[in-house]
């Protein structure tokens, strides 16, 4: 299940990145070479960046790669670190549910009827990115919690072996 979600997200974000490079080059080409500037590329690029960031941020959260200050937490005893993992995950879930899911839905609803100025695209499509990211985030949050539970089980079962691997 995780693999499928990972794959789809990776595919979407990478395609978006490639498309953005091509569209930006196309923008230069239409203006400098064709002397007839494209009027929709700029808006497309701005909104593509929003989608790329939202989906990519969820994916990166799945990999636990967002920058954090860990030098305090790393000094704590292993057991406390595991408890801290839960606390951090719980705090992030509060962020996901309140801002991304609840706030995102509100923003999505309030954009009804508004259209983008160049593409004429419903602005709801832009804010949809927050809600979609919220769903992805919550998916990864649950995976993280299961992983932490597994880790705790392992530490409890073989505390010695673990210390050897990770002094």
């Amino acid at each position: 299940m995780r693999k499928i979600v990972d794959r789809i997200t990776a595919f979407l974000t990478c395609s978006l990145m490639v498309a953005m490079v091509l569209v930006a080059c196309w923008q230069v080409f239409t203006r400098f070479v064709l002397n007839s500037p494209s009027t929709v590329t700029e808006e497309f690029l701005r909104y593509a960046l929003v989608w790329l960031t939202m989906l990519g941020a969820a994916y990166t959260y799945g990999l636990k790669k967002h920058l954090a200050i860990v030098f305090v937490a790393r000094k704590l005893p292993e057991k406390i670190q595991r408890i801290l993992d839960f606390v951090v995950e719980a705090i992030i879930i509060v962020f996901i549910v309140s801002v991304l899911l609840f706030g995102g839905t509100q923003t999505y609803r309030s954009a009804m009827g508004q259209v983008s100025s160049a593409l004429g695209m419903p602005m709801q499509y832009l804010y949809l990115s927050v809600v979609v990211a919220g769903v992805l985030f919550i998916f990864y949050a649950f995976i993280h919690i299961f992983e932490t539970i597994n880790k705790i089980k392992q530490t409890d079962l073989q505390p010695k072996a673990r210390e050897q691997i990770n002094p």
Binding site: C14, M20, V28, I92, Y127
Partner: protein
């Protein structure tokens, strides 16, 4: 109200950071908690989610993912080695030749890849073993590598300067780019002077004299990589594209270059792309989160309260700039560049423009301060990577780094108090 709000924001934010909650989420949650003291919950979360999106809705910001992608392509593209060979030809006859090659290599490669970490790893990784073979003390070579790794953060193109342009309310990216050259050059020269002095005392060898033919061949091999600078900066100055578009052109060019060098297989491109997507999302999520924090700060009047406090200490520009430098160096010591630029620009810029400082000049000073932070303990990415490619502990390289810190701070003072170092080139070239 501003003081209470500022206190809540700072305390919650610090607490979350210590708990090791990722910085971007910490920013949003701390802002949300602060907002809840004034706004009803439904409006507070609406504000947060809406501002996450509008904070990203900027054409200028697009340059960041593009330069990140170009940088990642370059790290995988064998470009570092070619630049090192080129640098060796240029500075090979000076005592401690390989150390100077390292400084120059970091400047060139860092300028192109825009990453202090990538420079420390790629250039230091190539040169470290060679220096050891020539009898250099590994602690010395690691210190040289680390001290010069962040130069590319202010030498254009620079993603950090683009983010500064955005939060400073649209300072010209072209001007910032051109302004970064001299300070970056001074930083490189300062490192080379220290490296030279130590190398001379320890009798570190020069590299073998290369024949003119080999020198020429090395140069020819490097031209395609160096062309990237010509294309990006030249294209902007010639009015072919804007700074943002230049970033996309840089990607296209680097892509062709890696194809030509055959260093990245087509099969590996998804991996390279994914690396760029991850880096982009991390940085952009920070940008989005900071927009939420800026909103809450503006809404509660925090920036005004802070600048009132600072101006209460002194209204002498010389003293204020010194205070700002000390503060920013401290911030840079344990905070990453991007969030620091995003959080502190809106607070400090009004103060310095208040006494007539040019936003371009302040941008260079700010980014230089924070770049130094990447090589200072206790937390510094370039410091970590630079020591680990040299197989050393952070503590082992800190002492040999001291003379380098001293000269870099000296350059920082020059950049701070002599506006011309930053502003001369933009005034000259952007006419």
């Amino acid at each position: 109200m501003a003081l209470q709000a500022g206190l809540i924001l700072a305390v919650v934010f610090t607490l979350l950071l210590i708990l090791s909650v990722p910085i971007s989420f910490s920013i949003v949650i701390a802002s949300l908690v602060t907002a809840l003291f004034i706004l009803p919950p439904d409006l507070a979360v609406f504000m947060a989610s809406q501002t996450l999106v509008t904070g990203l809705d900027s054409f200028t910001l697009l340059a960041v993912p593009f330069f990140i992608l170009a940088g990642v392509l370059m790290n995988n593209g064998g470009i570092a080695e070619r630049l090192v060979n080129f640098a060796k030809v240029l500075v090979g006859r000076a005592p401690g030749a390989l150390a100077h090659t390292n400084v120059l290599g970091n400047t060139l490669f860092g300028s192109l890849s825009g990453s202090a970490v990538a420079a420390a790893a790629a250039v230091g990784g190539v040169l470290g073993p060679l220096q050891k073979k020539d009898g250099y003390d590994p602690r010395y070579s690691a210190a040289v590598n680390i001290a010069s790794a962040p130069i590319g953060l202010i030498v254009p193109p620079s993603g950090t300067l683009i983010i500064y342009s955005l939060v400073s309310g649209g300072t010209s990216v072209a001007a910032l780019f051109v302004a970064g050259y001299l300070p970056g050059l001074l930083w490189a020269i300062a490192c080379m002077v220290v490296a030279y002095t130590i190398a001379k005392r320890r009798n570190y060898p020069v590299t073998e004299r290369v024949s003119l033919k080999v020198a020429f061949k090395t140069f020819i091999e490097t031209i395609p990589s160096l062309m990237l600078i010509v294309i990006v900066i030249g294209g902007i100055l010639a009015g072919i594209f804007t700074a943002t578009e230049a970033a996309a052109v840089a990607v296209a060019y680097t892509f062709l270059l890696t194809l030509a060098y055959r260093t990245v297989k087509i099969k590996e491109f998804p991996k390279v792309l994914m690396e760029a997507v991850e880096l982009t999302s991390i940085v952009m999520m920070l940008v989005a989160a900071s927009a939420v924090m800026s909103w809450v700060m503006a809404f509660t009047g925090i920036p005004g309260a802070i600048s009132g406090f600072i101006l209460g200490i002194s209204d002498n520009p010389i003293v204020l700039l010194l205070l700002l430098n000390v503060f920013l160096l401290l911030i840079g010591t344990f905070m990453d560049i991007t969030p620091a630029v995003l959080i502190f620009t809106p607070i400090f810029l009004p103060i310095v423009t208040g006494f007539g400082m040019d936003p371009v000049h302040f941008g260079i000073m700010l980014v230089m301060n924070l770049s130094i932070g990447t090589i200072t303990p206790p937390v510094g990415n370039a410091l970590f990577v630079g020591s680990s490619v040299a197989r050393l502990n952070m503590e082992e390289v800190t002492k040999p780094l001291l003379p380098f810190y001293a000269v870099i701070i000296l350059v920082l003072m020059l950049v701070t108090y002599i506006p011309a170092i930053s502003l001369m080139l933009p005034n000259l070239l952007l006419e």
